[in-house]
């Protein structure tokens, strides 16, 4: 097995299966789940750029998601324009907002930065839910379905391939951050900012860059999500829960790893979808059990397996390779 294939085996398996899914199954529910897994994975990957690779923990990434979702929905409903243009506008606004947040990351560290990102997303939540004249307020915006690629009214199969394209793109971007000079510099900033600065790394500029990039990537997925789901609810798209969800998927899958966010998305999205489908209506609230499980997993992972599921797999593989063959049976005791 070549080195390339071994390193990317998990990703190739995930994306390969996703690509084959529409050929193998025609069940709309299953394809819907595949799109969700890919979109959530891409969103987690976007979060990973700022919070995993650059180490600037944001608990307010829903802000950028909401900006993307709202701009796509508003361009479609209010201005009768293509959601693609809305996505572009969302990216532009998010880049601006990301620059502000990135600037804050240069002034605030650790919990202070995390708190400021929560405050930022809450301000947007209040604005979106109260500014009735422009955003339709707390009722949210139903996104009309207009068939066609330009209006992003797609069937399930087309959605799978669109989400797959985004997911692969984000994955490759993260692989670049794993291997490139910029990526190593980011790792330096993450591990010890002062030391990185002393080595001549422009840590302030790098952090802003990482947050801006992460914001733009999140907004793109926000726009796609609005079109895919067909409804934008301010209390969902700007919620702290959503920001926490990006973090949860990334950390359980493996922060600062390329495949981690997608592994996390598979675990969390599939259990959530399964519980929703099985228990909704039987006992409301019971679906929350998946968050009890993954919340517990989060506490355990950050403490015992900080590199997440992706790192765990790597660790096991490395140990197996290193373990010498015992010359005599039972010599290892």
């Amino acid at each position: 097995m070549s080195l390339l294939r071994r390193r990317h085996a998990a990703a190739i398996a995930i994306f390969g299966l996703a690509a084959l899914a529409p050929l193998a199954v025609h069940d709309a529910f299953l394809l819907h789940t595949v799109v969700e897994i890919l979109l959530w994975g891409a969103l987690a990957a976007a979060w990973n750029v700022a919070s995993g690779y650059a180490g600037q923990v944001s608990l307010g990434h829903a802000a950028f998601f909401g900006i993307g979702a709202y701009s796509a929905a508003l361009f479609g409903t209010r201005f009768q324009q293509s959601p693609w243009l809305g996505m572009l506008a969302g990216v532009v606004v998010s880049v601006g907002a990301g620059a502000v947040i990135g600037y804050l990351s240069n002034r605030l560290r650790g919990p202070y930065f995390a708190l400021s990102t929560i405050a930022f997303s809450q301000v947007l939540l209040v604005v979106a839910s109260r500014w009735r004249g422009f955003t339709a307020g707390s009722e949210g915006i139903p996104v009309p379905f207009r068939p066609g690629l330009w209006s992003l009214g797609l069937g399930h199969v087309a959605w799978v391939y669109l989400a797959l394209a985004v997911a692969v793109l984000y994955y490759l971007l993260q692989v670049y951050l794993d291997r490139s000079r910029v990526g190593y510099q980011l790792a330096g900033v993450r591990e010890d900012e002062d030391a990185a600065e002393a080595l001549g790394i422009a840590s302030r500029r790098l952090k802003v860059l990482a947050v801006v990039l992460s914001a733009a990537l999140t907004a793109v997925c926000g726009s796609l999500w609005a079109q895919f789901v067909g409804f934008v609810d301010p209390f969902y798209v700007f919620s702290v829960d959503l920001s926490v969800r990006f973090a949860l998927m990334t950390i359980i899958g493996g922060a600062a790893t390329a495949v981690g966010p997608f592994l996390g998305s598979i675990l969390i999205t599939s259990l959530e979808t399964y519980l929703r489908a099985t228990f909704s209506g039987v006992k409301t609230g019971f679906t929350g059990i998946y968050l009890v499980i993954y919340g517990t997993a989060l506490i355990l992972v950050v403490r015992f397996v900080p590199e997440g599921l992706a790192g765990l797999a790597g660790r096991v593989r490395a140990r197996r390779r290193r373990r010498p063959q015992p010359a005599v049976a039972g010599a290892r005791q």
Binding site: V57, P111, Y112, V123
Partner: protein
Amino acid sequence: MGPAQIEAFAQLVVSAVLLGGIYALISLGLTLIFGILRVVNFAHGEFLMLGMYLAFWAFTLWGVDPYAALAAAIPLSFLLGLLTYGAVMRGVIRASHNVQIFTTVGLSIVLQNVALVAWSGDFRSVRPWHSAVVLRAGGTAFNLSQVVAFVIAVVLTVALFAFMRWTHTGRVMRATAQDRDAATLMGIDTDRVYRLTFAIGIAAVGAAGVLVAPLYPVYPTAGLQFVLVSYVVVVLGGLGDMVGALLGSLIVAAVEVVGSYFFGTAWKEVLYFLLFIAVLVFRPAGLFGQRGAETLGA
């Protein structure tokens, strides 16, 4: 100013003080835990929510008045704090910021969803007789529950300050807050101090949850709105600074009350979040704190 304006002004002041008293009790636990453990407890609101549910169930199942339930809520929250410290917090006291953030975020997810699974997401309310009594004095009107909640919050706050100021344990806690390594060298068992501090902080916020239960709806994420306020309060007052938290509570309550009066209740959150971001940008160590604490990661 005519008599109508004076009445309106008096009402605003009274409302702000009543609200500020509650915010103070919630925020004190948060700032105490931060000051001594150096951990921002992102699950703080969830302990408030548990206090609210305790009041709700005590009232619904046994008809116990929330203010009587307080007698059970304080020791129970204290115990829960001890258990949570041992099971979750203890292992991350000396870990990095990010590990600490996600440990408490994970705790918050778990507690919220345990409540959701156990008690569903329905909005519940606690309506004891005193929540319907309106007191009037000098042109101002307020709810009896609000007044009682305020008085109890003030009594608990004063008790907490007295404990920190005059007892040996309180002095030991302050010494640990000042310099944990020096405290260890002086023979202070810091682990015990952390455990006690965490339990006291949780007891305070649990008590606050019981106090606000008759005033606000009870649901699994009910803690969020309060904890967001208390983040603003403690950052304003300087994280870890107890007197600062008191002043911060009054400032945030005043901003909220005056903001609702002039701009409508809808926009009051924007006001205090903007205040929050402004303080973070211009005076991140708090209005009264020392500069530079936040970049050192305090």
